[in-house]
């Protein structure tokens, strides 16, 4: 069902290519990756925004936050 969407396979293929083009990074080379702004998870201030978006929009999930349930939201 999802693969019928024309853009989804492109994103999946691009992601696979990115994962396989990885170079080994040693601990002392991670100064930029360890910067607070480089965190992959959502920050606390973004979670409050995700909360109102889960009420006002039909879609939710895949962002480390709520996937549905736990509140009167969609």
């Amino acid at each position: 069902m999802i693969l019928k969407n024309s853009r989804t396979p492109i994103v999946i293929i691009a992601t696979i290519i990115a994962f396989y083009s990885c170079a080994p990074v040693r601990e002392y080379q991670k100064s930029r990756l360890n910067d607070g702004e480089m965190e992959l998870s959502s920050r606390q201030v973004q979670k409050t925004e995700q909360n109102f978006q889960s009420y006002r929009e039909g879609a939710s999930g895949a962002n480390g936050g709520k996937t549905g349930g736990g509140c009167g939201c969609n």
Binding site: C22, D35, M38, E49, F52, G58, T67, G70, C71
Partner: protein
């Protein structure tokens, strides 16, 4: 329902068994429980629009919400050198809603005119740092006047030896209850809330359960670039409508929203962060979403923190969202009585939205304003507009203590 909770707990216990080993008596070192950090988050949200579902898809949507969250993170090592972390959250929201006041416009204040939502949660995570494994269990609760929720979740994550890749999985269940408060003109002696009847406040409750499994895979690509793939499977069952959402049919007869009793959602997201030069960071996110009510959505988000100094950054951001609405939506007086399901909730209609704003963040090594206990201060403002007349402003503050 109970079986699913037991399965979640069972998974947790099973994963915990993978940690079994004998105490390390040679390198034994007592570690006391310590506070890692305390976060205080406060936000103010205001919205308005002209498509309130309470009045059948027309009418004001004015709402003010004040949210405050206190998060305390604690940790300690046990005799096996496993790291135990506790993340305790307490949240309180206070909101006023003009549209909800139209559930019963005859009263000074109807049940949802103003409300308080209280939502504590506690997560316990145990990490074997040597093996790069961790397991966790979360319990959560949420209550407001017409909704309550009990949540349980178990999670597992494993990190590669070089710490460049991490996989995590989470199983989660929310066992919710919706209080069936009908619009005043539709109340009868059996629905509760009928004035003068003995059951004036005896509104019934109906269940709404949500079960989800979430998977994430993160990968360091090179010294400047890392990314994450997020995938959820969500199944909801029970009363998925809201009882005070009015529906006006073409013949002007009236009822309340009626939606299917199950919903299956599949969101897939990709997050990628890139450090450009020495001052610029690009944080990008894309999500594809689809469910069996016919809703299809795309979300694209970009944030570009600019590091003015190593400890102070300004982050402009922009988020675009588009959705094709559910097949059961129709505007005011466009549903037919012969329709099987109906909703005039514009949150589930087709629309685009734009969300943009800026954030400021400082983490000085000697503490904010020279106070060493305050390690981080972040302020963020965003403006939200949709193509169906709704607009909103949100301002959020996060102060971190250590």
């Amino acid at each position: 329902m109970k079986k699913i909770c037991l399965v979640v707990v069972g998974i947790y216990i099973h994963l915990f068994a993978a940690f079994s080993q004998t105490p390390d008596s040679v390198n034994y070192k007592t570690r006391k429980l310590k506070i890692d950090e305390i976060n205080f988050v406060s936000s103010y949200y205001h919205q308005d629009g002209n498509n309130s579902a309470v009045t059948g898809g027309i009418g004001i949507e004015s709402l003010h919400d004040y949210a405050n969250i206190l998060e305390v993170k604690l940790s300690k090592y046990d005799k096996y050198k496993y790291k135990h972390e506790w993340d305790a959250n307490i949240g309180i929201d206070y909101y006023t809603s003009a549209s909800s006041d139209n559930i019963d416009p005859n009263t000074v204040s109807s049940p949802s005119h103003e409300d308080v939502r209280f939502y504590p949660s506690l997560t316990h995570t145990i990490t074997n740092e040597k093996k790069g494994l961790s397991v966790g269990l979360t319990g959560s609760y949420s209550i407001e006047s017409d909704y309550q929720s009990r949540g349980i979740a178990a999670n597992f994550s494993t990190t590669s030896h070089d710490k460049s890749r991490e996989f995590s999985a989470k199983a989660q269940a929310y066992l919710d209850e919706v209080r069936i408060i009908l619009p005043v003109e539709l109340r009868t002696a059996t629905t509760g809330g009928l004035y003068g009847a003995p059951n004036e406040h005896d509104y019934p409750w109906l269940h709404r359960n949500s079960y989800s499994s979430s998977f994430t895979l993160s990968q360091i690509v090179n010294q400047r670039f890392q990314m994450m793939v997020l995938f959820d499977l969500v199944y909801q069952e029970g009363f998925l409508s809201l009882p005070f959402h009015r529906i006006y049919f073409k013949d002007n007869s009236e009822t309340t929203e009626h939606l299917p009793s199950t919903r299956f959602k599949i969101p897939i997201g990709v997050r990628a962060n890139y450090f450009l030069g020495d001052q610029f960071i690009i944080r990008a996110y894309y999500r594809y979403y689809q469910d069996d009510w016919g809703l299809v959505a795309h979300t694209a988000d970009i944030e570009t923190p600019i590091k003015i100094t190593p400890f102070f950054s300004i982050s402009p951001f922009y988020r675009f969202y588009t959705q094709k609405g559910i097949r059961y939506f129709a505007p005011y007086r466009e549903h037919l009585e012969s329709d099987e399901y109906y909703s005039s909730n514009y949150d589930l209609s087709s629309f685009n939205s734009h969300f943009f704003g800026v954030g400021f963040r400082t983490m000085p090594p000697k503490g904010v304003l020279g106070i060493p206990q305050i390690t981080m201060f972040e302020l963020r403002y965003g403006h939200y507009i949709t193509t169906n007349t709704l607009y909103a402003d949100v301002i959020t503050l996060n102060v971190r203590f250590k």
